[in-house]
Symmetry: C2
Subunit: 348 residues, 2 copies
Amino acid sequence: MTFKNIMIKNDLFLRALKGEQVDRPPVWMMRQAGRYLPEFQVIKKKYDFFTRCQTPELASEITVQPIRRYGMDAAILFSDILVIPQAMNIEVQMKPDFGPYLPKPIRSQKDLDHVIIPDVNDSLGYVMEAIKATKEKLNDEVPLIGFAGSPWTILCYCVQGQGSKNFDKAKELCFTNPVLAHSLLQKITDTTIEYLKAKVGAGVNTVQVFDSWGGMLSPVDYQEFSWQYVQQIIDALKDITPVIAFGKGCWFALDEMSKSGASALGVDWTCSPRNARYLSGGRITLQGNFDPTRLFSPPAVIKKMVHQMINEFGKDRLVVNLGHGILPNIPLENAKAFIDAVKEYKAN
Amino acid sequence: MTFKNIMIKNDLFLRALKGEQVDRPPVWMMRQAGRYLPEFQVIKKKYDFFTRCQTPELASEITVQPIRRYGMDAAILFSDILVIPQAMNIEVQMKPDFGPYLPKPIRSQKDLDHVIIPDVNDSLGYVMEAIKATKEKLNDEVPLIGFAGSPWTILCYCVQGQGSKNFDKAKELCFTNPVLAHSLLQKITDTTIEYLKAKVGAGVNTVQVFDSWGGMLSPVDYQEFSWQYVQQIIDALKDITPVIAFGKGCWFALDEMSKSGASALGVDWTCSPRNARYLSGGRITLQGNFDPTRLFSPPAVIKKMVHQMINEFGKDRLVVNLGHGILPNIPLENAKAFIDAVKEYKAN
């Protein structure tokens, strides 16, 4: 498996995805481009959420902000998983202090009939422009990650209409009208595949699929309503770019995920490094898994815990990351301690 | 280990807790006394939340409502885990359409200084009266379960001040001021032990500790901030009554929990029956673990899935339950299908 476009100066991240031996693991943070950074807040005050996503100059600027400040080993494009349903003709609003709000949730065949599989280069062309602008700014210093939500996670929002503790309405639809749920999941999957292919064409060096709500399903329901669609995405992408599959709370599926053709698996902090290695078979690259709230600890504690975590995972076939997105109110020096700890890591 | 007060006509539940062989497993549902029942809604319209908890006639009536309708194999006292902080001098409000709200959360030593370890027979005497009233109504037909939240779960509300997706403020306190957190946890633990002992004295046949938010901690932090306190509770109670320890999302701790002296462990639906048996060592009684949202499925599907679940767990050393509380909008016939499926179960 060889991928184009890997003339990157700092290729530590790409080497870890290939399973090569490294002096120290690479590091980046989920949601690193965003709300905890004061330079992001400046932009946020001037432009609303979708303007930031849809304006290549803004999205690319936000993407490189954390790299300038902390020098992570990879950048991840500033965007949102909900640009997909938006492009599929489902209205998505981003309400301050509330989060995503979809005023016309998908609950019936009639609702689904309005959902389209868009031409991604048309309706999501702004993402491809943002990628190109970001690549110019990054100047091949570090790789750029593109991402999408898993079809299940996107369905959760499309059906529930907003965030939820248990996505009861989304699950109710799946369990009372599985045919409708699968039609929607397949439409999202088809769109996502074209979207990620276009992203690779525009220049991203890796893609990550975020299954943020996969862990709300039982293992059997996870196979039916989430994993089979993630597998379709991996199958369609794995020969053109490395794929990282992240499933929050999906420890129970790590064995199957490890055989999927993904280059790496993201794990959350409830799975110890030892368990994660064991459950994933010990050969695939893992990404994670520092508890995001543990960044509230004093910097010295963070550094010690990061080194313990790397030692427990082993330095190879590892991408150091948080177990979920960084929280908005994390002190800057604590985020710095997390990144620095990895850069300062020396194998025993 | 022998316990008083087990002259119960239907002792299936108590026998399963002892690990005895049974023709079919016993069944009850977390939150079975409450909001999905029309007869509960009648009471709810007339009396506010704490009036219902604090009036023995109302609490006992609500407790036996589901037994009358469905004939579960155990009753669980209608109450709330937040009666404990309330008795500890922390104001707790129950806001409609919002949930618990604690206007003066515990964030400093000064806040903690106001927290008392109460005389439970005084400040929580109404719970003991409710138990006695319930025992009369149950007439020893089925056992009565008493419960408490785990100290960690109670701390989550006391510090956060309300429900939360990630209890970031609660975890921030633990990670920035662990000494304060442990002082609060110990006070809650001491109160909980006295509270559960008093409940046993008043007549409950079993106690369950609900660690609803244990699964938000990493395995290491879980040991430090949750499990050691649950273990104290088990140590203090296990010789006077069977203890059930339920930790939502705590699959990673099942091994240690199985060696705690608890009579049974509750598991949620993200852990397959096979995994739950494996992780808990295969000898302890398990309780669970049907996905509460799966009760949206048609009754025939529910019955089939329940039988599959029992077969996968094995019928012995099993208490059939949901993996978390029943949801408010579950159709009555679906709840009935769940209970009936267990009663109709025949071993292959």
